[in-house]
Each structure stands twice: as C-alpha cells, then as structure tokens.
Amino acid sequence: MQDIKKTSSVMTDTPKSHRRSRGLNWGDPFFKSATFLFAMLVLTILSGIVIVLFIDAWPALKQFGPAFIWTSSWNPVKDSYGAFVPLVGTIETAVIAMVIGVPFSFGMAFFLTEMCPHWLRQPIAIAIELLAAVPSIIYGIWGLFVLVPICQKYVEPFLIATLGSVPILGHLFQGPPIGIGVFLAGIILALMILPFITSVMREVFAAVPAVLRESAYGLGATRWEVVWRVVLPYSRVGVVGAVMLGLGRALGETMAVTFVIGNAHRLSMSLLAPGTTISATLANEFTEADGELYTASLIALGLVLFILTFAVLAIGKRMLLRTSGKGGLA
C-alpha cells in the first residue's frame, strides 16, 4: 500500500520526461480488483451451493422437518426418508479411519523425521506421495477384490473371537463375518487419508528449528520425549490442520466406500455389519430417484453432509484459535 502511494506521489511530482521509467499506473489497481473478484467468486460459489441445496431439498425439509435427521427409515415404496442411518455410517467410518489413520501417520512422520536413515528417506516420501495419487475408485476395487476375502477369512473371525467376547467393546464386533461392512470401509478410508496427514505432519515436524531439537537432545531427552514434548507442541497448529484435512476427506469419500460398505440402510451396533454413508447413498440412488420427495430427500442428505463438514471444520478452526498463542507455527 505504502509503495503505491509513494509511486503516485512520485508520478505527479516528477516531470513528464522522467516518467518513462516508472511503469504503468493502472497495473496495481487492476491487479487488486482482479484478485478481489476471485475471492468474491469463491464466496459467491459457496453461497450459491448452499442456496441451491436448500431450494432443492425444501420439499423434503417441509415434509419431514428436523425429524429428518433422526429418522432411521429409508423406504422408497412408502416415501418415508430419514438421514439417521447414512449420517451414523458417515461418522462411524470417519471415526474408524481417524482412529487407525492418525496414529499410523504420526508414527510414519515420526520415523521419517527422527529415525529414518538418509538413503531411505526419499524413497519412502515418494511412496507416500504416490499413495496419495492413487484414484479413490482404485482403492474401492482393490478393497473389493483383495481385502474383502482376506477380511472375511482371517481378520473378522479373529476379531469376533478375541474382541467379540470383551464385555462392552464386544458389541462392536458381533455378527457373521462377511468381509463387507463399515469396518472395512473405515480401513480403506484410513489408507486413503494416511498420505495426506503423513506428508503435512512430516513437513511440519521438519520445520521445527533444529536449535529446539538439539537443545532437548543436549539436555538428555529421549527421541520420544523430544517429539512428544518439543516437536509436537511446537507444531500443534499444523498437526491439527493435517488431521482436519484427513477428516474432511474421510467424511466426503464416495466411490471407495460404496464398493465395500454394503449399501444397507440398517442400523447395527456391530461394526462388522453392512451400512451406508451419505455419499454412498447419493452415489447409488441419485441417478434413478424417481419422484419429487425421493430426489429432495437425497439433496437434503447432501445438505446434512455439507453442514456436518462445515461444523467439523469450524471445530478445527476453533481448536487452532485456542492453541495459536502457544504454538510456534501459528
């Protein structure tokens, strides 16, 4: 800003013969308005999406009201729809993905920054980036053809036999092992969000000043203590951001989940049972939804997902705001 003011005062004070070397005066205001336009465009698109979602979902919202969120039926014959089952499925798969994915990512980032021999660092980093580049539908197909038989024959019977008999946790691991289900969908989601969270965590860990790390080592801290007490608190903001990024992807992932989740509109205590998520429901049923209420209910589902993602991001931002004073990488 100040440079522009300086230039313009120079422009008016300098005689014409000296102005040749000053450059065009219209460039800066043009640039400013163009970038302002782009920013406004993003806001416009976002509000446009919300408005269109609301308008198209209105017949369903009017018919069912807020009860739409906790109704668990999904009956196209009787035209009775409720978002509860897809919503619970979305949250369940996202939570499983985070519970499995975040510790793994943390471990990988830890290994890559602290303990990895130099010659191994680049190959692993490249492998992680490649994992991020695999299209999500490939994960779905691979999950269906490779993971489902393995899960059905070995993993699920093992879980039912061991965790199934634990008093409270056991309810989550009941039922016949069919491979397909919420649990497998959560595992595949974990694999999909691993690369994102790992790369961001790794960069954030690596950006911690060497001085801090070395001082900690100098004082006799172990590797674990350095990471847990020095690196992690310093990079807290970046880590939370990485986790939010992964969670956002897990909530919205469609094709990989549709292949392996079983598309069943039924609530079940067990994680090994088939279920559905909001995106899987939309992917399966949207093209053929016949009837105004059916289509409106599907769009209302989309609206629910939008609000959920928005809420999750807002919580993430709030967490960042609270900790930004304490971390180093604000």
Partner: protein
C-alpha cells in the same frame, strides 16, 4: 505462379469434396439408458448393428429407474426398463412402450463345492431368506429341498440391489406372489430390504456374490453365466423343478396375453405351466409418441426393427428369448403412433 495457384486450388477442391462426402455419409449415433438386465444383449446387438450399418448405439446401463428418469428428462433417445410403466403413466408422460426381449432372473449362491444347478430353491424359501427369517445355510427348510447337498453351518449373506432396478421390481413381484409376508416390504424398483448388502447394478450384485463366501443374490441369467456364478434351480408354480434355459423362459411366456395391458406391460413372474421358469421377465423400451427429433426417432426404430429381424441368434446365445413373431407384428404396428410434430409416423 498461376500454375502453383491452380495446383493448390485443385487440391483444396478435392479436400472440400472429401470432407463434404464424409459429413454426408456420417449419420447420428443413437443413445439410450436404463436397465442392466438386458445390457449384455443390447451391447451385442449394437456391435453387430454398427458393423452392418455404421450407426452406433450408445447404451448406459444405469438401472431401470435411471432409464425412466433419463427418458423423462429427454437426455436420451430411448429409455429401457424391466419395470413396465402403467397405462396411466404412459398417457401422462406421452411415452410409447414395447417389449424387446425376455430373460430369466436366477438366484446365485457362493457355496464352495456346490455346482451350478445342483441346489434348488422355491419362492417361499427365497422370500424367507430375503426377509431374514432363514439365516443359516443348513436351515431345515433349505435342507428339505436339497437332500444330498452338503450345506455348511454358515450364515447367509443376502445380496440385493442398491439402486433403482427393474430386476428388483420383477423379483419382488415374484416374492409377493408366493409369500404373503412379503407385502410388508412391497413391490417396487427400490424397497426397504429387511436384511442384506446392496450392489449397484446386476454387475454389482454379481461382483459381491462372487467375492463373499456364503452369499446369495439375484441376477439376470447372462450375468451368472458370464461371471461363472453358481445358480440354483427353482420349483415353479406347478411344483416342478426347472432350470433357467431358453425352453423354460419360452414356456413362461407362452400364456402371456401381450395385448391385455397398455404398452404390452405384461409381468411374467410366477407363470403357470410345468416347464415355466418362475422368475421370467420381459424388458421394455420407452420412446416418445411425439418425437422432437424425428431423424433420431427413425434411427431408434430402425435399430430395433433390425434387432427383431436379425438379432434372434445373438439373443439365444446369451439365453435371452426373442419376442414371438405375432408380438413383433403388433409392436411394429404400434410404431405408427411414434410420429413427428406434424403427425406423420417416423418409420
């Protein structure tokens, strides 16, 4: 310089002429969308037709519900559905409907050691499985029908369709005819299934059954053959055990009164007859009476006329039964109602 100009000029004229003939010779491809049930035979017919005439037929296998939705939205030249529209719906939407080919819906199972056609089920047991009342393979009701088949003590993983499907419509219609308890679930292209996993399209159900041990699903017979799935025999209304085959489908269609329903919308489930396959279904094509693009309408009807006249062998190779000759005559007669804006028939 004039000589050079002449050379270039002549070359240019030749190029223009070639381009002109090329554009004249190229006719528009026709597009359709809908049922996954007849997709294998439509794909084969389109291939043969393109080899013969150069006109391509682009068919999107998205399910009967999708086909009805897309033809209503006029995004395709024709829609395909195994769930026929009622007379009122046809009048309301201005669509003409005609049957194209008939096929069999077969139950497919994934039980290691069981060969195709070794097991037999009846409508009542099938309904009980899909209602969730029979949960294990060695249940007495299944064992009673299958003496001599080693049934494991394993839970049944039920597989159904997750999308809007004419195959589901015909399957639930059959279950509703044979089991009073099915009325709680209903008959439609998409229902609220009491148990089971959902696969997208006949293709999805075939993939899920192939992957999941101890599963049962329902697919069109061509999918069971092409994916080498284990299908079962059925007991029909007469109590006789029948296999899915051209003969059993034809037997089921023999008594059909095609003229009795508007738009030829006859449902062939649970037909009487000792040889009839109980889950036979016809699949239908939907086109508008009033064509906005008469040239496309004509191309569509010409394609289906060719399929009626030359497609029988290809259909029978995939165990689809072509429509009987008298029905074809009635259908082609009904094409007179497919007209352009002025009322002149397009074909």
């Amino acid at each position: 310089m004039l000589k050079q100009f002449g050379k270039i000029g002549r070359a240019g004229l030749v190029a223009l002429a070639v381009m002109a003939t090329a554009t004249v010779a190229q006719a528009a491809d026709i597009s359709g969308a809908g049922a996954t049930f007849p997709y294998p035979i439509y794909a084969k017919w389109a291939e043969a037709y393109k080899a013969k005439t150069g006109i391509g037929m682009n068919y999107q296998s998205i399910g009967s519900g999708g086909g009805i939705k897309q033809i209503k939205a006029k995004t395709v030249d024709f829609g395909a559905s195994d769930a026929p529209l009622t007379g009122d719906e046809l009048k309301e939407t201005g669509l003409a409907q005609f049957p194209m080919v008939m096929g069999a819906i077969v139950p497919v199972v994934n039980l290691p050691g069981v060969k195709p056609g070794e097991m037999v089920l009846n409508g009542h047991v099938l309904a009980e499985i899909y209602l969730g009342n029979i949960t294990k393979w060695n249940d007495p009701q299944i064992a009673a029908l299958n003496k001599g088949v080693a049934l494991p003590d394993q839970a049944i993983a039920v597989v159904h369709r997750s999308d809007g499907s004419g195959t589901t419509f015909n399957f639930t219609y059959y279950l509703n005819s044979v089991d009073a308890k099915w009325a709680a679930v209903g008959v439609d292209k998409a229902v609220e299934w009491p148990v089971g996993l959902g696969g997208k399209g006949n293709e999805g159900v075939a993939a899920l059954v192939g992957q999941t041990a101890g599963s049962i699903g329902y697919v069109e017979y061509a999918y069971a053959l092409q994916n080498k799935l284990t299908y079962t025999d059925m007991l029909n209304q007469a109590g006789k055990r029948v296999q899915p085959s051209l003969a059993s489908i034809q037997a089921a269609a023999a008594n059909a009164k095609w003229n009795s329903v508007p738009g030829f919308g006859v449902i062939l489930a649970d037909q009487p007859g000792a040889e009839s396959w109980p889950m036979t279904a016809a699949t239908f094509i939907l086109v508008y009476h009033k064509q906005d693009k008469p040239a496309n309408g004509k191309a569509v009807l010409e394609f289906f006329k060719w399929c009626y006249e030359h497609g029988d062998k290809l259909a029978e190779d995939l165990v689809y039964v072509p429509m009987p000759k008298n029905v074809v005559e009635q259908v082609e007669d009904s094409w007179k109602t497919v007209t352009d804006a002025s009322g002149k028939p397009v074909l």
